[in-house]
Amino acid sequence: MKQTHILLGHGSGGRLSHELIRNLFVRYFHNHLLEPQGDAALLKMNSEKLAFTTDSFVVDPLFFPGGDIGKLAVAGTVNDLAVSGAVPKYLSTGFIIEEGFPLEMLEKVVASMAAEAQKAGVMIVTGDTKVVEKGKCDKLFINTAGVGEMIEGAENIASGKTIEVGDKILINGTVGDHGMAVMGARNQLNISAGVVSDCACLNDLTELALKETNAVKFMRDATRGGLGTVMAELCEGKTFGIQLFEEKIPVRESVRGMCELLGFDPLYVANEGKVVMVVSAIAADRILDIMKAHPLGKEAAIIGEITASHAGRTWLETSIGGSRIVDMPAGEQLPRIC
């Protein structure tokens, strides 16, 4: 009898577990490092300097325009490595599945992960599966951890230690797409805007930027909390300030409309395919061109600069020429009446 739903047995390590692993996970993720299915994957790295990261994914709904939890799980970890100045190589993945979860849906998620991993040039080399009783977790949670090799000279990219006044701030495209796509897909709001998540692996783009020139000083992916949070965090406690220009920040019309309707600020909405970079002023235009020539950077823009004034603070010049501070949001943005 063919299984249609996940049973507790699938997580217990016995025959059912083995079948699931063999017929689903190994089948889709197939690579020589995973095949042995040992307790650990045995890796050989070409560099002594490594980057290592982990992330867990609990998005609701599991499928949304532009992606799904699987694509997110791969891209999220790949991007954390990429923006730290590393070449992502190997991923692990852990699944926590609710009893009764449809196998068909799990297969879709796994297929999506395999496709994204292939696009990014990474291998999923080890994993784990646990099944919990119905009601003990919300359908499916995925954790991925990833290891990558540091690119020569990129040690300061994550910390931004070499940032100086006059450096320019760049982003590879429009903000707010992912957060609003997920919000729209939640279906409780009856708003449809055709917003598609920007979920994507950025390592190809970041490697291009890093290899062409030594001028990239800092990178971060603008996920939860959005662009605004990245900026506020970057300059907090530092001797420099940040000046952003609202007019230069790319936002899709449909995202803008949805945000106006709900009272959200696109500056703080989540992204899953956006990297914010700080680059030296002389190289800014060149890096912009490099990004624009890449499919994930077509709408790239220079959105601000590092300043000597208002140290520790990010200021935004608004579209009408006024000024205001960009601070870290207190919590999540919620649909409001005021």
């Binding site: 106006e260 579209s319 020429g321 009446i337």
Partner: protein, 362 residues
């Protein structure tokens, strides 16, 4: 986006800012009484465009800020009943009650859902007949008609598991009370969307009794700047009156159909406002003929005694008599992520707006 972008035109903003600068000689202090205005003023950085003699002060225009802790405590008590689903606008979810917040209660297991519209709450009631769905009705005359419409719909559909817990309030009483209680302003930036419903005549008593003007303003930068300009002119020429800047949406007579709905479903009662105390006939109670949808009449619940926090001067800040930075708790014990008072929670509570946009004089 039409009717939005044109009112954000940078060139026009510069022109009117210059005009204001040129015309405004006397010191003038203006108060906005609408949370949406507070947000818009801060979001676009309006104060940075005005000359120093023009002072903008935030008033009690945020329905969340003026709502009592007792209301939150009772809402929390409802949420703890086993068969209740609470439906609420996002604004209320982190407002402090005496010992908890709706957010925390949700984490503890209560069924509390954020809705964009009372229509969503009605849908939830339809789909969950065995549960009691309580809708937290906050807001002024802009939002009250929606609640009235919702109650009428519930009655028509026989949705007897749907209840409204009303905290709705009306605008004119606090505007009078503020001046009576000694707030020193020269004019009001009048609430734009409240006025689309009420019309402009509800403010006529303000120039008549207090000698200061009210300009009903839209929410885009040009609207606000134009309203400020009109108030400046009134002040310079000593001609206080009620004017409508937001003419594309506000008619002097307002929206009669919506007003009729309000009249049908609600009646006025005395109500308590943070910072102002109890104001005569300033709140909406659900009429007797709709009693079966009134949470206060239909659901009995024990509510803990209300405790206001010492040190919190939300009341004074709401009146514009103190700046958020004057409060001992501001930025220390009371921050947006861990708020003590309502002014810090609401997105356009004066304290939250101040904290986000202005924390240090840069």
């Amino acid at each position: 986006m039409k009717y939005i972008d044109e009112y954000r035109d940078k060139e026009k903003v510069i022109s009117i800012s210059n005009r204001i600068r040129f015309s405004s000689k006397k010191h003038i202090r203006l108060m906005e009484v609408c949370g949406g205005h507070t947000m818009a003023i801060q979001r676009f950085g309006i104060p940075s465009l005005l000359p120093e003699n023009i002072e903008l002060v935030s008033g009690p225009g945020c329905p969340v800020c003026v709502t009592s802790r007792a209301y939150i405590d009772q809402a929390i008590a409802y949420s703890r009943l086993p068969d209740v689903i609470i439906t609420t606008y996002g604004d209320l979810i982190r407002v402090p009650g005496s010992t908890s917040t709706l957010d925390r209660e949700r984490a503890a297991g209560s069924d509390i859902r954020i809705v964009y519209s009372i229509l969503d709450a009605l849908m939830i009631a339809k789909k969950n007949r065995q549960k009691k769905v309580v809708f937290l009705g906050i807001g002024f005359e802009t939002t009250s008609p929606a609640t009235a419409a919702g109650i009428l719909k519930a009655q028509m559909a026989g949705l007897f598991n749907f209840f409204v817990y009303s905290a709705h309030k009306i605008m004119p009483p606090p505007m009078a009370a503020l001046i009576d209680q000694g707030v020193n302003i020269h004019g009001y930036i009048g609430p734009g969307h409240v006025s689309t419903i009420t019309g402009s005549h509800i403010y006529d008593f303000i120039p008549e009794k207090y000698g200061m003007g009210v300009v009903i303003s839209g929410f885009e930068p040009l609207d606000l700047l134009q309203s400020i300009y009109m108030l400046v002119l009134q002040h310079e020429n000593e001609t206080p009156k009620v004017e409508i800047q937001y003419s594309r949406a506000v008619k002097p007579e307002g929206n009669q159909k919506a007003k009729d709905m309000l009249e049908e479903v609600f009646e006025l009662r005395d109500d308590w406002w943070r910072g102002l105390g109890t104001l005569h006939e300033s709140g909406f109670a659900i009429r007797e003929r709709f009693a079966e949808f009134d949470a206060e009449k239909m659901l009995s619940v024990e509510v803990e005694p209300t405790r206001e926090d010492k040190g919190c001067i939300c009341g004074t800040v709401l009146k514009g008599l103190a700046k958020p930075s004057d409060c001992k708790l501001f930025g220390k014990a009371c921050t947006p992520s861990d708020p003590v008072g309502a002014c810090m929670v609401s997105n356009e509570g004066a304290c939250a707006a101040y904290y986000r946009f202005k924390r240090t004089e840069a």
